[in-house]
């Protein structure tokens, strides 16, 4: 019924297209050209802040206030200066370690929870799912004060663990993974069970490889979120050595008489890694955003 309708519509549509004059086509291609140019100009404007950040990080002090985007003599002295200082290097490592560990932990636990809630039938399953989901309603800002008090009494302040513990599992990830495990057929799991695999092995070796795209999407979100996280690391760290990149950059920029080209260099150091990741995995990341956005 629907196919037939669709066919008729298609036939009628194609005959309508044939009837269109050449002038209409001309008009359309001009409109397309204008549309393309406007979108391109808009897109270039969108990346201008990033372009200026990078260009300024390559400039000498005397031309920093020049509006020209392309540096007269591009050089890497600012990067050498900032990295020699040692602090940015340490902050970079801190951010990298923290974002990596929280990403691995979230991927492991979120998918384990999502899988269990999706594929096991037991009493209390629904309550656990609703309870975890309900934590999405609680904003982080409400939890930072209790987390701070908790960290204070357990001695977690100013430690890697203290920065990381709130992000080790995410309710969003649980929800996302549960949705994706719905697409894994139960027959596969049953076959593995007959083959004598235990439940952990079934999850790890049979189910997990089947949701790789979802895992990748989740990994990008969790990593990006932890790499750019600011409020909690700002609260929980007090010694400069333990700052993450955003916290470090914030304190660096706030120091008296720090030159703008050095701040731009610091900003570039904390932005370029994620930009490179994006340029490499572009299609993949955009698909991930759509998946997470529509399912989440």
């Amino acid at each position: 019924m629907t196919t037939l309708d669709g066919d008729i519509v298609e036939i009628r549509a194609s005959s309508a297209t044939l009837l269109e004059g050449a002038r209409a086509k001309q008009r359309r291609s001009t409109a397309q050209l204008i549309r393309w140019i406007l979108l391109f100009v808009g897109g270039v404007l969108m990346v201008m802040p990033i372009a200026y950040m990078i260009s300024t990080s390559l400039k000498w002090p005397f031309e920093v206030y020049n509006v020209r985007l392309i540096p007269e003599e591009p050089h890497l002295e600012n990067y050498a200066y900032v990295l020699e200082d040692g602090r940015f290097y340490g902050w970079f490592i801190n951010s990298l370690v923290i974002a990596t560990i929280t990403t691995i932990s979230s991927l492991f636990f979120d998918s384990l929870i999502g899988y269990t809630l999706c594929k096991f039938r037991f009493r209390g399953r629904y309550i656990v799912f609703i309870a975890i989901l309900s934590t999405l309603m609680i904003p982080t800002e409400m939890l930072v004060i209790p987390w701070y008090l908790m960290s204070q009494s357990f001695g977690w302040l100013d430690t890697y663990w203290g920065i990381m513990f709130p992000g080790l599992m995410t309710a969003f990830g649980v929800f996302l993974m549960k949705q994706f495990f719905e697409t894994v057929p139960d027959d596969f799991l049953e076959a593995a069970r007959i083959d004598g695999l235990n439940e952990f092995q079934i999850w790890w070796t049979v189910a997990m490889p089947m949701v790789k795209p979802a895992l990748a999407a989740l990994a990008i979100f969790v990593f990006l979120g932890n790499w750019t996280a600011f409020l909690w690391p700002l609260i929980v760290t007090t010694s400069t050595e333990l700052y993450t990149l955003p916290v470090g950059l914030s304190s660096f920029g706030d120091e008296a008489d720090v030159q703008w080209e050095l701040i731009m260099t610091g900003a570039a150091i904390s932005t370029i890694p994620t930009l490179i990741v994006f340029l490499i995995f572009q299609r993949f990341i955009i698909r991930g955003v759509v998946m997470a956005g529509l399912k989440g």
């Binding site: 298609e10 391109f40 206030y65 609680i138 008090l149 309710a171 235990n198 955003p246 914030s250």
Partner: protein
């Protein structure tokens, strides 16, 4: 072990399930539920971290209602929302709607718009802060000066500072919304458009009668997602006004910044907790409105 093998298959599987969930349940109880409960309790107490925790009843909430700074902050938070959400919604729809019709170099254009989403808010706040400086430092004022227009005191003005701080937040989120909108547009069956074309319906009518109504779930999602983001704005404001957080004269201060200062500059934990409860209630109302809108579909 002997006893385990005596269990039925279903019992074994249930045991596995709870085994898998044991650590996560512990985590969610200790790191999510208990702190939530603690925040509510703390909001009825008085505590400066050093002395004793004493019950204060509704005192924190009474103080809050009588605090002129709170009402200023409350208004700012909603101005962020009321400016940010519609502007980013309209801009991202316009771009997505047009970009959807482009085939040539589609991926490149999309990447240009999406790139800002991959940046760190703190880094970009500093970049924009530099843009906003006066002559001869800031880019915007230098450009204005070169075309002979007077200076704008972006971050030092009590009226312009808030939109100036909001701009990079809108900018960074556009790419995400554009991608979501394009996915929404793609999901609309082609046959609708073809049928409309045969009937000779104008482009405008197609937009208002077909595209927008069918995009309603996407629009609701984007509105709620970005509203929650703007209500929780902090990174941009904090970093663009570090010399006087939330200034000038509290004109850019959002609720989260007030919470941060109350808790970690004044160490007034109970009062700060009461402010977080207010933030929670605001976000709750916004989310419930979303559910309401979705159900009306």
């Amino acid at each position: 072990m002997q006893r385990f093998s005596n269990l039925s298959i279903m019992q074994k599987r249930t045991l596995w399930a709870w085994g898998f969930l044991a650590v996560p349940i512990l985590f969610f109880v200790i790191i999510r539920f208990y702190p939530t409960f603690n925040a509510f309790v703390l909001s009825f107490q008085e505590w400066n971290l050093l002395g004793a925790r004493t019950w204060a009843g509704f005192e924190n909430y009474v103080t809050l209602v009588n605090d002129p700074v709170f009402w200023k902050v409350f208004a700012n938070t909603f101005i962020y929302l009321l400016l940010g959400t519609p502007i980013s919604l309209v801009l991202s729809f316009l771009v997505a709607y047009q970009l959807d019709k482009i085939r040539f170099a589609h991926g490149l254009l999309r990447a240009l718009y999406f790139l800002p989403f991959m940046t760190s808010a703190v880094a970009m706040a500093w970049v924009w802060r530099w843009f906003y400086q006066g002559v001869p430092i800031g880019l915007f004022n230098n450009i204005l000066a070169s075309v002979g227009i007077g200076q704008v005191a972006f971050l030092n003005s009590t009226t312009i500072a808030l939109p100036a701080v909001l701009a990079p937040a809108i900018w960074a989120g556009l790419g995400f919304q554009i991608i979501i909108f394009m996915a929404g547009l793609r999901a609309i069956p082609r046959s609708y458009y073809e049928a409309a074309k045969i009937d000779g319906v104008s482009t405008w009518t197609v937009l208002t009668e077909i595209t927008l109504p069918l995009l309603k779930p996407t629009i609701v999602f984007i509105v709620v997602f970005s509203s929650i983001g703007f209500l929780r704005i902090f990174d941009h404001v904090f970093n663009m006004t570090t010399n006087d957080p939330g200034g000038p004269l509290n004109s850019t201060k959002p609720l989260v910044l007030m919470i941060y200062e109350t808790a970690f500059s004044s160490f007034n934990m109970g009062y700060a907790a009461a402010q977080t409860v207010v933030l929670f209630l605001i976000l709750l109302v916004v989310s419930l409105l979303q559910l309401r809108l979705l159900r009306d579909k």
